[in-house]
Subunit: 197 residues, 2 copies
């Protein structure tokens, strides 16, 4: 179990009951992991290490009010499914592209966290020479799984196999990301070892 300098343990599942409820009705958007990654990316940006941003949540806007002398107000809009992954940017000239997901399960990571079009997006990124992966928050740790590895588990599901990745499989096929205070989720350190040494 990782401890922050202030003594708090890092536990992505540990959100107050109320927040967790809101999160779950929000289709498991994963606020804690998202906040930690945003802070991490801000750290990379401030230190001129990498330029990586989360894309805005895609929204289908239906109705907008234009009140006099104040800002336009969106009065009706719907969440849309993204056709890409959530995070992208540049590190040492290379295109970086990833998705981040978390599970509360203690035993496995459900593949329903990913969508068919995200998988094909990641495949295209790799075909075009980019670096693609997923960040998985599970079992009290945060892992980086390369896209090529995810594709294998995805294919297994597509051909009728199990619909999740077991804890053992994740531990064997992924890379533990060092957690800390600044940056919180140092995934660039893993990328360095995998692609830039």
């Amino acid at each position: 179990m990782f401890r922050y300098p202030n003594g708090k343990t890092y536990n992505p599942g540990a959100v107050p009951a109320k927040k967790r409820e809101a999160k779950e009705s929000y289709s498991n958007r994963g606020m804690t992991l998202e906040e930690d990654l945003n802070e991490t990316n801000q750290f990379y940006l401030n230190r001129a290490i990498a330029v990586i941003h989360k894309k805005p949540t895609p929204v289908q806007i239906v109705n907008v009010d234009f009140p006099k002398r104040s800002a336009a107000v969106i009065r009706e809009a719907y969440f849309k499914q993204s056709s890409t992954t959530d995070y992208n940017g540049v590190y040492k000239g290379k295109y970086i592209d990833f998705e981040a997901k978390e599970t509360q399960s203690d035993t496995s990571f459900p593949l329903k966290n990913f969508h068919e079009h995200q998988i094909s997006h990641m495949k295209m990124v790799i075909d075009h020479g980019g670096i693609s992966f997923v960040i998985l928050s599970a079992f009290g740790s945060v892992y980086l799984m390369e896209a090529a590895v995810l594709f294998e588990f995805w294919e297994r599901k597509e051909s009728g196999g199990r619909k999740s990745i077991s804890k053992k499989e994740i531990e064997a096929s992924s890379h533990l990301i060092p957690l800390g205070y600044q940056p919180r989720i140092d995934y660039i350190k893993v990328l360095e070892k995998l692609y830039f040494h």
Copy 2:
């Protein structure tokens, strides 16, 4: 003046009065140029030429309804200013990052189309080895201006000089993008000549 195969001329300024009104009250979001670029990017994607997407419009969500048995409805939200450019992706392994803007002016391109944080974002992209530029729709043509060139005009404005780029300056410092039916705005052709030959 470019003509589509159906005989129509390409004129980004030629939007019906009603649409133009809506567009202007929408802070010059540039629908026509955006649609043409989306089709262009879709063409690149379908032909496995490049993976480049427009980022969703950033929206600050304030209030969401969760009706029983139907999709969540956003009831109050506001447009946010983006901290990056609108388009990014990967071409031949390189990180591509750009902004697209249009003007109805016949004589110059106003620099107020860009924001300070977009300029600094583009600077960081270049520092990290990415390719950054702007696509300018103006004077009936579409131009690609490399970020480094835009920075010079921006600096001139910052140091008290003119607040726009004259038509002559754009013609001298930018690259005409070939327009066509498929793809509509073939900016990759310009990138090829500039960076990949």
